[in-house]
């Protein structure tokens, strides 16, 4: 599947990864030949566990790092190099990251934090009253009306700080919103509020959204298209509900089945005999060394066969919406029967 | 771990070479004509010119530097202008003397500072007092403290010798001076680390395992305190070995620092350069030793991140 097949007809994808790899100095391969596209006006969700590479994707998308192979484009054009080259691009991207305690400078006032993008991109309002009004307006929009502009982040709870971060992300009128686990550090009851805020902001401002999370359920509520990542590779892409209801890749199903039950009646995980413990112990880690000629999930896959260990499964497009990288994918209805 | 060590070694070597170059350059900033310094009573320009030729002073700089460097590698630090002896023979014994003082000083500051830090952490009531002591010790200039101690214990109470020399009796006061001056730094590190450790989650785990307070302090807290302390010890040893000038002058301790001060006075360039180089090597060496020690203490530092 190429970036083009998901793109809207006519408009290039806002952010596109085309066979992108990222290897860090020291040898760690964080991304291994991935192809993804965020269509203009659409929402793409990246779901994966630690070591899957999803945070690296965010870093590349924000221009914080460059790919070591492949092509990364923004609205069809390659990401420029150098800080000044990246600036116009960065102005169009608003981001909200995971840690509400780290992402706001504790020594800056709320007003300065939220208005900072205006200053960086030399937009009106960086200083002075016009900026104050803008900031106040945005703080109201994120659910902190009447917040003291001269207060400091320490006064706010985790949820409050994320709201400030969202206000900051929106102030320069971006066209894209990038969210990397924005609610993972928050309490459950606050989480929905923040997500709703993001969904509202997206709808009202017609933003494209790249949303990264380890929570498959959350991704399914937020993103139209979901890409499942593991070990630096994309294992499956498709519409959120299909990914959940009838996944093709065994890892997607494993992920789905690892989520705890909805009701004590249906408990499986704490009762080993029920689940069968098929997915092997040891947490998922990105392969430590080079791109192996094998499926990255082969060690832990209950359906793995010899072929999976010696050949890397290519990405197969089932149709214009779904694709997966597996030699023995699941078929509809989660029956787990072999296909092909 | 080996990789991390070799990297540090290489950087250390580069640092030493840098210092040597810098010192060499500084030569030409130090006023005075070396020829005149060697033969102050010579009044014939021919004699002076002869001396300059002998010292290769009229050669291009690069040649002089290469010369000098070559000599260094052979362990030849040159000849003192004033004392007409090889610099190495002059510095050698003095280095040892300073070394004794440095070691004594470090032991003193670790003991005094460590005690202050531990007391301040474990006994809340004493914390303010320890803080005041620390502040005072930090504020006092080292020569004032030295002179004070000399006055009180030497002249007034007569229990410490007042003449210079390198005997065991003479070691007490200068070592104590160094110890008191350096103590607040160690007190601070020890107190900070201990507080961090005691408030940490792993100490709570240790408590939940029913381990006794003293066991926890010994086995869990102390190790974590050692790491930053060791770094500082390395820095101190290195810097003291390059000459604790003030203390040596005040107490007339015949170490390398005193030698360097006198040599500067006399514009005795070779000795000055010699002490600078020895100092640089000492700093690099002890830093490396501290790094290695830290790697043994804290396994997290063993891999190059």
């Amino acid at each position: 599947m190429t970036a083009q097949t998901i793109a809207q007809v006519g408009a290039p994808p806002v952010i596109a990864f085309d066979q992108v790899s990222k290897r860090y100095r020291g040898g760690r391969l964080a991304l291994d030949d991935i192809t993804l596209a965020l269509p203009a006006g659409g929402s793409l969700g990246l779901v994966g566990e630690s070591g899957s590479g999803k945070t690296t994707c965010v870093r590349l998308a924000l221009g914080l790092e460059r790919p070591t192979a492949g092509r990364l484009t923004f609205n069809g054009a390659a990401y420029p190099s150098g800080r000044s080259g990246l600036r116009p691009l960065r102005r169009q991207i608003g981001f909200v990251l995971q840690d509400p305690y780290d992402s706001l400078d504790a020594r800056m006032t709320v007003r300065d934090i939220v208005a900072e993008p205006l200053r960086i991109h030399r937009l009106p309002g960086g200083r002075g009253r016009r900026g104050d009004e803008l900031v106040a307006e945005l703080l109201g929009a994120v659910g902190l009306p009447g917040a003291d502009l001269r207060s400091y982040p320490s006064r706010y709870s985790g949820g409050g700080r994320q709201r400030i971060a969202i206000a900051r992300a929106l102030i320069a009128a971006p066209t894209v919103l990038v969210c990397d686990e924005p609610t993972s550090s928050l309490d459950v009851s606050v989480q929905s509020q923040i997500i709703n805020l993001l969904l509202d902001a997206r709808r009202e401002r017609d933003l494209s959204m790249l949303f990264v999370s380890h929570d498959l359920d959350l991704i399914g509520r937020v993103a139209d298209t979901v890409a499942v990542m593991y070990g630096g590779r994309v294992l499956e892409i498709g519409p959120a509900d299909l990914i959940r209801r009838s996944p093709r890749h065994p890892y997607t199903r494993a992920l789905h089945e690892a989520v705890p039950a909805d009701h004590p009646r249906h408990r499986r995980l704490a009762d080993r005999n029920a689940a069968g413990g098929q997915y092997g112990s040891g947490s998922p880690q990105a392969p430590a060394t080079d791109a192996r000629d094998s499926c990255v999930f082969a060690d832990r896959c209950p359906r793995a066969q010899d072929r999976c260990r010696v050949e890397r499964p290519p990405v197969i497009a089932e149709d214009s919406l779904r694709s997966y990288a597996c030699f023995f994918p699941l078929s509809d209805g989660l029956t787990g029967q072999q296909r092909g | 771990m080996a990789r991390a060590l070799t990297r540090r070694l290489i950087f250390g070597l580069i640092a030493v070479i840098g210092v040597i170059t810098l010192a060499f350059v500084l030569e030409f900033v130090v006023p005075g004509d070396p020829a005149k310094a060697i033969a102050p009573r010579a009044n014939s320009s021919a004699v002076l010119a002869n001396i300059r030729a002998q010292l290769h002073l009229n050669q291009p700089l690069i040649v002089q530097f290469a010369d000098y460097f070559g000599n260094l590698l052979r362990g030849n630090l040159g000849t003192s202008y004033v004392q007409h002896q090889s610099v190495t023979s002059l510095i050698g014994p003095r280095l040892l003397t300073t070394g004794v003082l440095a070691l004594a000083g470090v032991i003193a500051e670790v003991l005094i500072g460590g005690a202050l830090g531990i007391l301040a952490t474990l006994y809340g009531r004493v914390r303010a007092l320890v803080g005041a002591i620390n502040l005072t010790l930090l504020a006092v200039p080292i020569f004032v403290l030295g002179l004070l101690l000399l006055l009180v214990f030497g002249f007034r109470l007569g229990i410490a010798p007042v003449t210079g020399g390198a005997g065991a009796a003479q070691l007490a006061l200068p070592a104590l001076t160094l110890g008191l001056i350096g103590a607040p730094w160690y007190a601070q590190i020890v107190a900070d680390q201990m507080q961090d450790s005691l408030a940490s989650s792993y100490v709570r785990t240790a408590v939940s395992k029913g381990l006794s307070d003293s066991y926890i302090l010994r086995r869990h807290v102390l190790r974590n305190v050692l790491s930053p302390a060791v770094t500082m010890i390395g820095l101190d040893l290195g810097s003291y070995l390059s000459g604790v000038v003030t203390v040596e002058v005040v107490f007339v301790w015949p170490g390398i620092g005193l030698l360097a001060v006198n040599a500067l006075h006399d514009l005795d360039r070779p000795i000055v350069m010699g002490t600078v180089i020895v100092g640089a090597v000492a700093v690099v060496f002890f830093n490396l030793v501290a790094d290695v020690a830290r790697m043994f203490i804290d396994p997290r530092t063993r891999e190059e991140v």
Binding site: Q191, L255, P264, A275 | R204, S208, G210, L211
Partner: protein
């Protein structure tokens, strides 16, 4: 109280003295517990019981007091916390013991599993030694015996190649392995009570699934009571027999786990359940169910019922009177025994 299937006879109850006695009374019983930090009340008059062999989930969010309750009961809070109330573990009054008395037997009474295993393990000591410490100090083993016991304990928590792992440092292990080490330390002496403070919150979902499986296994073999703190209703569904919900320092609902899920009597509990259900099954892009407002900061609870500002069905009485924990009327099909809620309108939810 012996463990079936564990390696090494040296690990059976006889060496640990206390554990050899049959459990007297519930694993944990808390009565009227109050925890105060200065003028801030973190836990208000809480009462709770964990029977032997039972898993009780303590559900709450930040500021609910759940951690203060559990750590306060286990006497692990710093001295700045004022803890009062009656706490008995396996029938022994630990709240009345002196610190020294308690310390001598605490590892045999209660094992603790912390949330952040990376922070809770000493970074400069190999994990085998940290597990071995429990045996060396409390079971009177010498170094070699303790080391063997540690390896056996690591094997019990399904760590492969436990002898090699024992020599590693915490930063060399994955998050899941570290959590297993914490569990091994906690169950080392087969204590009648285990207190687990959100042990899977920081783990990947697949690692969490493995740990839950391990705990399920251990729970079947041991007869300890487990107090498991969490904010994840899914984990509650998987593990718990009984649940207690905390809000603003108070226990606002308790009951059998099926009751809690089928007929939550407190609007906060209902809100938590609805939040999760909506997350799991709602349509893409539609707004998520949310409980409006946010939990009060400790010390800033409103008068009357602390949940009132966020409650969709609050009435005047809710602002005037803080409801006490009372039995809930029975719902069809359930004996309702023990189901209690602190709400003036409990019983009107479905």
């Amino acid at each position: 109280m012996t463990r079936e299937g564990s390696g090494g006879s040296s690990l059976t109850a006889s060496t640990t003295g206390l554990a050899g006695e049959p459990p007297r009374g519930p694993a944990l019983e808390i009565s009227g517990l109050n925890v105060r930090y200065g003028s801030v009340r973190a836990v208000v008059d809480a009462s709770l019981k964990v029977e032997a062999g039972q898993v009780v989930a303590l559900i709450g969010e930040t500021g609910s007091g759940k951690t203060s309750l559990a750590l306060g009961a286990a006497r692990l809070l710093p001295r700045s916390a004022a803890v009062s109330g009656l706490v008995t573990i396996a029938g022994r009054d630990v709240s009345g013991m002196s610190a020294i008395e308690f310390r001598a037997i605490r590892a045999q009474l209660v094992g603790c599993i912390a949330q952040d295993a990376m922070a809770a393990l000493n970074p400069v000591v190999p994990v085998g030694r940290q597990v071995g410490e429990v045996f060396a100090v409390h079971a009177g083993m010498d170094r070699r015996q303790a080391a063997e016991a540690a390896v056996a304990a690591l094997a019990q928590v399904e760590i492969r190649r436990p002898d090699a792992v024992a020599r590693l440092y915490p930063h060399q292990l994955s998050g899941g392995m570290r959590q297993r080490v914490m569990i091994a330390m906690a169950i080392a002496l087969s204590p009648p009570l285990i207190v687990a403070d959100e042990p899977t919150t920081a783990l990947d979902v697949s690692t969490q699934a493995e740990i839950l499986g391990l705990v399920g296994d251990l729970r079947a073999r041991m007869r300890s009571g487990i107090l498991w703190i969490t904010h994840d209703m899914g984990v509650v569904a998987e593990l718990a027999d009984w649940a207690a919900v905390m809000y603003a320092g108070q226990i606002v609902e308790t009951g059998q786990v099926e009751q809690i899920f089928d007929a939550p009597a407190h609007p906060y509990t209902l809100g938590l359940l609805q939040t999760r259900r909506d997350l799991r099954s709602g349509p893409v892009g539609a707004p998520l169910f949310q409980i409006r407002g946010s939990p009060p900061a400790p010390g800033e609870e409103p008068a009357g019922c602390p949940f009132r500002p966020r409650c969709p069905r609050a009435t005047q009485v809710c602002a005037d009177v803080n409801p006490a924990l009372e039995p809930v009327g029975t719902t069809a099909g359930w004996p309702g025994a023990g189901h209690r809620a602190a709400c003036h309108h409990s019983g009107t939810w479905s």
